[in-house]
């Protein structure tokens, strides 16, 4: 296993958001996580890269065991060096150009030289077809372009796993396709990905496994066909039919 979570728990005040999550991710696997708003999907991703600190749980990443409730600073940095994240609202650095957004992590996170970082960043921009925008600031780019640069910024770091938190849900409908296309390309290159999404078609098309998440727990999981077409749990059925009404 590339990544293994055991008994991940997180409480805000007395709101039990994550109630003991177990999750194992294989190398190259693409996992889609679906579930209602407020069920703790974002919180789970944020605990995995230590933007939040869990109350309990262990994480094993590349054979390295980390106590999620008490990681050392070294473990936190190490984990972040092996993971990347794509945010719902992109979070591109507003004071940096497209190219700088991508090279920054290479230079200051991975100690690469400026020249090497810029070469790698240019290549990553090219992969999302935005090389011609390299000197543009985020404010000069559409949401879709910003998110594709967000993806380039994450993948250029050559991470073991990329975490996506609803990467398309802040986008206008006509821009969603371009972002999903880049994500699919990435999956085809063998990138391990955990994707929180409401894009059922994407989950069906790309995900190796779909996880239905509710009330801070994994309710059920399986292939897209299993979960979407033959949901076992009443909670999943209800969620899917609610979603179907929306679309």
């Amino acid at each position: 296993m590339l990544l293994e979570l055991k008994n991940l728990k997180k409480t805000f005040k007395n709101n039990h958001v994550l109630k003991g999550i177990d999750l194992a991710v294989k190398e190259g696997e693409v996992i889609a996580i679906i579930g209602p708003s407020g069920s703790g999907k974002t919180t789970m991703l944020r605990n995995i890269n230590f933007l939040e600190t869990a109350d309990a749980g262990t994480m094993t990443l590349r054979q390295k065991r980390i106590d999620m409730a008490a990681p050392t600073q070294e473990q936190v940095l190490w984990t972040r060096r092996h993971m990347a994240m794509v945010f719902q609202n992109y979070n591109l650095f507003k004071n940096k150009t497209a190219l700088e957004n991508i090279s920054e992590g290479l230079i200051f996170g991975q100690n690469k030289s400026k020249e090497e970082a810029e070469t790698l960043a240019s290549r990553a921009l090219d992969q999302v077809d935005l090389l011609d925008k390299k000197d543009f600031y985020p404010s000069q780019l559409s949401g879709g372009q910003q998110q594709r640069i967000g993806i380039a910024r994450a993948t250029v770091l050559n991470p073991d796993i990329v975490l996506f938190d609803e990467p398309t849900s802040a986008l206008d409908p006509e821009l969603v396709g371009t972002v999903l296309r880049d994500m699919k390309r990435l999956a085809e290159r063998g990138q391990t990905m955990i994707v929180v999404t409401h894009q059922m078609a994407f989950a069906r098309d790309v995900a190796d496994r779909v996880i239905f998440f509710a009330d801070g727990q994994i309710i059920e999981q399986g292939s897209a066909d299993d979960v979407f077409d033959h949901p076992q749990h009443e909670r999943t059925q209800r969620f899917l039919s609610a979603i179907a009404e929306d679309y």
């Binding site: 994240m85 650095f93 996170g109």
Partner: protein, 223 residues
């Protein structure tokens, strides 16, 4: 009296005014940054110290601050055995204005820092930067840009406040003007003060121009 005479006399006070302005602004900014940093600490002592200083300084009229600096600082320094009685008046002027404006600037920096989108910091962390790189490369530049309009206003306010140093007898542009007016028994008073206002206005215009250039350089950085 010819206009050029008024002009040249008043301009002889301009270097002093600009010296007051520039040095007060630099010192006030440095103290302001330190204060903002202190008040953003979680440590209650640091926070309390900063809050106390801010409260006292913001509650003191700038004119009074200059008088306190002029008469008070030498006494204060004497307590620790340092004699600054023979410091030039200009230094007391700079000290008084710096102390006063440090409080306003610190609030500008602090509130700007707090309004940087927290997602920016998180993004820096997840690409592997440590906290200090995240601060210097991402948070700090954005903080400065957010603070810019307030800083500009404060600097313009400081231009006008420099005229208060007449209370401790510094011959800045304003004091030069009142002197000239008195010498002429107030005959050319209106002309003198119109010219004075004009020169202050030019200084403010230059500052506005400078800030406009900065804004233009960063027009695509929407923080």
């Amino acid at each position: 009296m010819r206009l050029t005479k008024i002009m040249t006399t008043l301009l002889s006070g301009l270097p002093t005014t600009l010296t007051l302005l520039i040095f007060s602004f630099i010192f006030a900014s440095v103290i302001g940054v330190c204060l903002a940093w202190l008040s953003l600490r979680r440590n209650p002592v640091a926070k309390g110290l900063a809050r106390g200083y801010l409260g006292l300084v913001r509650g003191t009229p700038p004119l009074l601050m200059l008088l306190l600096a002029y008469y008070g600082l030498p006494k204060l320094f004497l307590l620790v055995g340092i004699d600054i009685n023979d410091w030039a008046k200009l230094l007391f002027g700079i000290a008084g204005l710096s102390i006063g404006w440090s409080a306003y600037l610190s609030e500008a920096f602090r509130s700007a820092y707090l309004s940087v989108d927290p997602g920016q910091y998180e993004a820096a962390l997840v690409v592997g930067m440590d906290a200090s790189h995240a601060f210097w490369r991402i948070l700090m530049p954005q903080t400065l840009l957010i603070a810019l309009p307030n800083v500009e206003n404060l600097l313009i306010g400081l231009v006008k406040a420099t005229s208060l140093v007449y209370v401790i007898g510094i011959m800045d542009m304003y004091n030069t003007a009142t002197d000239l007016s008195n010498q002429n028994q107030g005959v050319y008073q209106l002309e003198i003060f119109v010219v004075l206002a004009f020169i202050y206005w030019l200084v403010v215009l230059a500052i506005e121009w400078g800030f406009r250039q900065i804004r233009k350089d960063y027009q695509y950085v929407t923080v």
